[in-house]
């Protein structure tokens, strides 16, 4: 399979502080890849390295198996969309979109009529037809972001890079733009990388997600792979609403606090970390091994009801989704068991 972008041993440090360390990553042609991670995990630095806005301390970046590291930003032909749009305030919307075409050397610059046609097409694509004469200050945040995207698409980039594209927008606009970005991507088929710290956004929008931590990629996979089969303890803790419990694994039994559960721990033995999400726990049927858990509180989250449970003294409380109509109350003792096991040996 062809590779659109490949990072090889990429590293970048600022004044001795490493932002990206020895990073390898492959992006497939036409895919929408989300770079997800906590702030300071190096995802934005990686995006800027791909764009050529930063030069790497070590390693290289290949576009279609051709070394792009030696190319300057302007020769890389990337479409970059900035978090705060970075529109040119003295130019109107149409002039902003046309900018990348107008700065080309005369030999490759399209004719004026062609530029106007392209701008009109792009305005149509981003649903801003008729607003070409407006200035950026006369647009809403969502509209500005769409102008920024149109401007980036105008130069027919080899890859599209978006840095927290919806970070500065309010929740409603965010959701709309998210869906719309997916549609645009499906229509234009650009290889697209976008940085976000919002996991809901990443998991909903992307074909694949790369989880960043401490300047490196912990796992790359489809949203399902990331959610259901986290490769590392960090990923298991970062995605979903997991509670981390210190446990002890011994082959066919797991010790949680004073309780023993009979289940297969795979190849993990000794001190370990168990990541528990609300749906990983269930009420135990009689013959199953169970932990007697005390109900601390019951609350409503959307359509479901959740019980906050204390599995043992000294362990952080965990949450469990309750079956419909279950009459659990504060102070009850419920038999619970694990239906999903996300277990990682302690480091």
């Amino acid at each position: 399979m062809a590779i659109a972008i490949r990072a090889e041993g990429l590293a970048k440090s600022f004044n001795g502080t490493a932002a990206v360390r020895n990073l390898d990553l492959e992006v497939k042609p036409g895919e929408l890849l989300a770079l997800l991670g906590p702030s300071g995990s190096g995802k934005t630095t990686f995006l800027r390295l791909v764009a050529g806005l930063e030069s790497p301390t070590a390693g290289r970046i290949l576009f279609d198996n051709e070394d792009a590291t030696i190319l300057s930003v302007r020769d890389r032909r990337v479409g970059f969309v900035f978090q705060h749009y970075a529109l040119f305030r003295h130019l109107n919307v149409a002039e902003n979109i046309a900018y990348g075409l107008r700065v080309r050397p005369r030999a490759t610059r399209p004719a004026d009529a062609e530029i106007r046609r392209r701008v009109a097409d792009l305005l149509e694509l981003v649903q801003l037809a008729g607003l070409g004469k407006r200035f950026p200050t006369q647009l809403s945040g969502g509209q500005r972001q769409r102008v920024a995207l149109a401007r980036a698409l105008a130069v027919e980039p080899r890859v599209l890079l978006l840095d927290e594209p919806f970070g500065a927008l309010d929740a409603k606009v965010r959701r709309d733009l998210r869906r719309w970005l997916r549609e645009i991507h499906d229509r234009t088929g650009h290889t697209t990388l976008f940085v976000t710290h919002d996991q809901e956004e990443a998991l909903e929008l992307a074909d694949r997600v790369a989880i960043f931590n401490l300047g490196n990629v912990e796992q790359v996979g489809t949203p399902d792979e990331i959610l259901d089969h986290p490769a590392t303890a960090f990923v298991a803790g970062f995605v979903g609403e997991a509670v981390r419990l210190p446990v002890n694994a011994a082959g066919s039994s797991l010790q949680i606090g004073p309780h023993q559960l009979r289940l297969s721990c795979g190849n993990v033995t000794g001190p370990a970390e168990l990541f528990v999400r609300p749906r990983d726990l269930a009420l135990a049927n009689d013959p199953q091994p169970a932990i007697p858990a005390r109900v601390l509180a019951v609350r409503r989250t959307g359509p479901a009801r959740r019980a906050e449970l204390a599995l043992a003294d000294g362990l952080p409380p965990v949450e469990m989704e309750l079956p419909a109509g279950h009459a659990a109350r504060k102070g009850d003792i419920l038999p619970v068991t694990l239906v999903n096991l996300r277990l990682f040996a302690s480091r």
Binding site: G52, L53, S55, S72, V73, R74
Partner: protein, 280 residues
């Protein structure tokens, strides 16, 4: 680095730095050096001797006196105007703020002229003033008035924007806690603007002691009586007494340097407590 796409190439960079440094050296640094060099040209003794002259000493005293009257009055005005403008909403507010800056756009000579037209021998109130046997023009009061006029906006324009930025929430909190109006002002408002006030006073004082054009028009140039330091520099210079002229000038240049150092210090140390224009 970065192939010169995100920043200038080293050659361009060096050229621009050389141009900027050269230009500033030519127009700012050299004149300053010239003042001290000319003052010391005939040796240190003659330099010192210039200050022994009674007329020179009188000029120094008059300059200090004028600044000592003009600066506090403008300080009081700056605080009053800032309180009224920043803490209250009333129509015509922006007009008031614009009018405060008016003296900046008036030529110093015209600033002096308006007082001559008002109080001079053939002025509007001239006969009246004569009757009282109280001289304003060609006397100290005229010099003070002209100085107040040209230094009028300095303090107000530092404090007004800062107080506006700060809003009224802290004062309202103090009032709800039972503080009186004056106490609120002294313990809440004043500490918030003290560095901006000092900054304004510094600039106001520098201009008050150094003003030439406006004061020249109203002073009458009477040696030992109505000569401020800048006027005395002119007289000495026109008498070809260059060493003495530059000696007095070097004192004023020293004042300018002290002002600049204090100003940079305030900008560096308390920049966040000055009006936005001076933050770094």
């Amino acid at each position: 680095m970065r192939n010169g796409v995100l920043s200038e190439s080293p050659a361009v960079r060096r050229t621009l730095i050389a141009l900027a440094v050269g230009f500033l050296a030519l127009f700012l640094v050299l004149p300053l050096l010239a003042v001290f060099s000319e003052a010391l040209r005939r040796g240190f003794d003659l330099f010192i001797a210039a200050f022994a002259e009674p007329d020179t000493q009188a000029a120094i005293w008059l300059t200090l006196l004028v600044a000592a009257i003009a600066v506090p009055l403008n300080l009081l005005f700056g605080i009053s105007a800032a309180w009224a403008v920043a803490k209250f909403e009333f129509p015509g507010k922006s007009l008031l703020v614009t009018l405060i800056d008016l003296p900046f756009s008036v030529s110093p000579v015209v600033s002096g002229l308006v007082f001559v037209l008002l109080f001079g021998a053939k002025g509007l109130l001239g006969p009246l003033v004569d009757d009282w046997d109280f001289k304003i023009i060609f006397a100290v009061p005229g010099i003070v008035l002209a100085t107040i006029f040209v230094t009028f906006p300095f303090i107000a324009r530092e404090v007004i924007p800062l107080m506006q930025e700060q809003g009224t929430a802290e004062e309202e909190a103090a009032l709800t806690l039972g503080a009186s109006g004056l106490r609120t002002f002294l313990t809440v408002t004043l500490p918030n603007v003290r560095w901006a006030l000092l900054y304004g006073v510094l600039l106001c004082n520098a201009r008050a002691m150094g003003e030439f054009g406006a004061v020249s028009v109203v002073s009458g140039h009477i040696r030992g009586l109505t000569n401020t330091m800048p006027l005395h520099v002119e007289i000495l210079y026109n008498e070809y007494n260059f060493v003495a002229a530059f000696a007095v000038a070097s004192l004023l240049a020293g004042l300018a340097l002290v002002t600049l150092v204090a100003k940079s210090f305030l900008e560096g140390r308390y920049g966040d407590q000055l009006s936005r224009a001076h933050r770094h």
